[in-house]
Symmetry: C2
Subunit: 338 residues, 2 copies
């Protein structure tokens, strides 16, 4: 049993902000990162929450994350933006992309935002939900250091390359879908590795392509894709839309999100915001279909568990492993990372 301490979302966010500032991050970037990590933790995505802070801070201190990078936003058309994260944190670049992109989508009917030279973007659900909260349909893809082998090959070429979708609905919170193209998110293996647990069979293959339950062997090997050849075809699609399209590194060349040395990740994220056509009654029809789905015996409504976790976190706070809190508090008070 890991020792945990309960924090309100507000206190958790302040603590992460202060820890990042302590590590040398300018306050606006620290605020952006803290908000994203706490939002991920609140929805139960612990692999994208507090567990990332120590590695982030160490990368700020080593200069692998340029925490003071100036984000540049360049329109490449009436409905298209290129955003250069400047090898800083992903979150300030994503904030800038959405701030510039959502009004364009409202005007033009759609806007695509290409974020390049970026870093770990955490839970995509957090970003696409912002699009849906603005009344637009959100799509997002991201690449990540290589983890999935092309179908038939043994060596990894693609990241777990997640796809996320969010949509507003009449009379309810947005529907949010967020899935990586590995059978499970690589963050879960990472988390098992950090907490010294083994992983179930079927999640990953070792470096020679054999099934493994050892998270260390899995991290040195590849993740099992969803849908066999179809899953790796989707991974290739996401790869091209997030790397070549954004001017970022291929997953095979991307530096680690975790180590404080080595090459920068230079990954990419691509977001699309779409305005529903007012004539189609879109939000009401989304609600109707989700009602139908929820009423089907045995059916699972995507995002229901996430929604419940967020409600619980807002009401009761979140349980954070003490080891992460001690690290955060040491950073916030000017100490070095472990």
């Amino acid at each position: 049993m890991t020792a945990v301490e309960r924090l309100s979302l507000h206190d958790a966010q302040s603590l992460i902000r202060d820890a990042l500032i302590g590590a040398g991050t300018p306050e606006p970037a620290a605020l952006s990162v803290a908000a994203a990590l706490v939002a991920a933790q609140a929805e139960g995505q612990v692999g994208h929450g507090f567990s990332r802070l120590g590695d982030y801070a160490a990368q700020v201190q080593s200069g692998k994350i340029r925490a003071d990078a100036a984000v540049t936003v360049t329109p490449t058309g009436a409905a298209a933006l290129h955003v250069d994260a400047g090898c800083g944190f992903a979150f300030p670049a994503l904030d800038a992309a959405l701030a510039a992109g959502l009004p364009r989508a409202q005007d033009a009917g759609i806007c695509i935002m290409a974020v390049g030279n970026s870093h770990h973007c955490g839970a995509l659900s957090v970003q696409v939900e912002k699009i849906a909260q603005a009344g637009l349909i959100g799509l997002m893809m991201a690449n990540s250091p290589r983890a999935i082998a092309p179908w038939g090959a043994a060596e990894a070429l693609y990241g777990t390359n997640p796809i996320a979708f969010a949509t507003p609905q009449a009379g309810g919170e947005p529907l949010v879908i967020d899935l990586s193209l590995s059978r499970v998110a690589r963050g879960k293996v990472m988390n098992a590795h950090k907490s010294g647990k083994s992983i179930p069979e079927g999640w990953a293959l070792d470096a020679r392509g054999n099934p493994t339950t050892d998270p260390a062997a899995a991290l040195a090997g590849t993740m099992v894709p969803i849908g066999e050849a179809k899953g790796t075809a989707l991974a290739l699609m996401v790869e091209l839309l997030t790397t070549a399209f954004t001017g970022s590194a291929f997953s095979k060349d991307a530096g680690s999100f975790f180590t404080s040395d080595g090459p920068e990740p230079r990954v990419g994220q691509t977001l699309i915001a779409i305005r529903p056509n007012g004539a189609t009654g879109y939000p009401a029809r989304v609600h109707d279909l989700l009602e139908t789905l929820a009423a089907m015996p045995g059916a699972r409504l995507p995002g229901a568990r996430r929604r419940a976790a967020i409600a619980r976190a807002r009401a009761e706070g979140i349980d954070v492993p003490v080891i992460y809190l001690e690290q955060a508090r040491a950073l916030a008070h000017g100490g070095a990372t472990a």
Copy 2:
């Protein structure tokens, strides 16, 4: 062994055009449909080729396909179009969407085309490749009569809801990816049913959710999705983007693509064309990644089999089952469907 006859692509297209005209289709629509069916047949997608002609013709004759529908194209923003197929064939509406949408994507950086009140759209690969041939990145999704159950449920709610992607690359033909979210395309089950063959286990479930190798039982049941719960989450995403977004029928309410009576399909298709940012060297980097992929031991390059089939069909023609040719020739000479 099915008796076949070899036809050039030109002769195949003329025959289908004449057959559709014989059934009562105006010539422009007949040309559009013929081009799409032959393109699908040429790339080996026989479930979207000649095998569809008899059912199409019967639906034109019964009025279920309004072959003389006037396609309307309504801009809903600088980078967005709504296209109403008017319950006619899908292909003239898709042609109109691309004709109006691709120049907008060139200008604005992206364009989304929502095609509503449509019919069977055949091989999505054929449509997205046109986008890539214009130097743009193409995405397409479509819904279809219900075939996949939500994860955990026994009854179908979603179509096989395919996703397709195409991209230009420097020094080579476009990369084209086209996959349905069922483990295999429903057209393959339909084709097995037409030719009296059984299907492999793992493709489909019967109406009570049990595995089956009988294509008739499979057509009355559901198709197995890729990726378990993740696959059905993707199916829900495609469902909303192609039905509520385009003003079309949900897959659960869509009429059959095959019978000449019953409600119209009224399905939807959504296409997105994206202009690569010239500053990122996009086409050359796509080529580089595909070269890397092709050089990996054991790796399968998506679309390679399709590309080979197209080259063979252009050089040698296509083998069409005689049963389909007799039907087509009877229609072309003013006869009724069988």
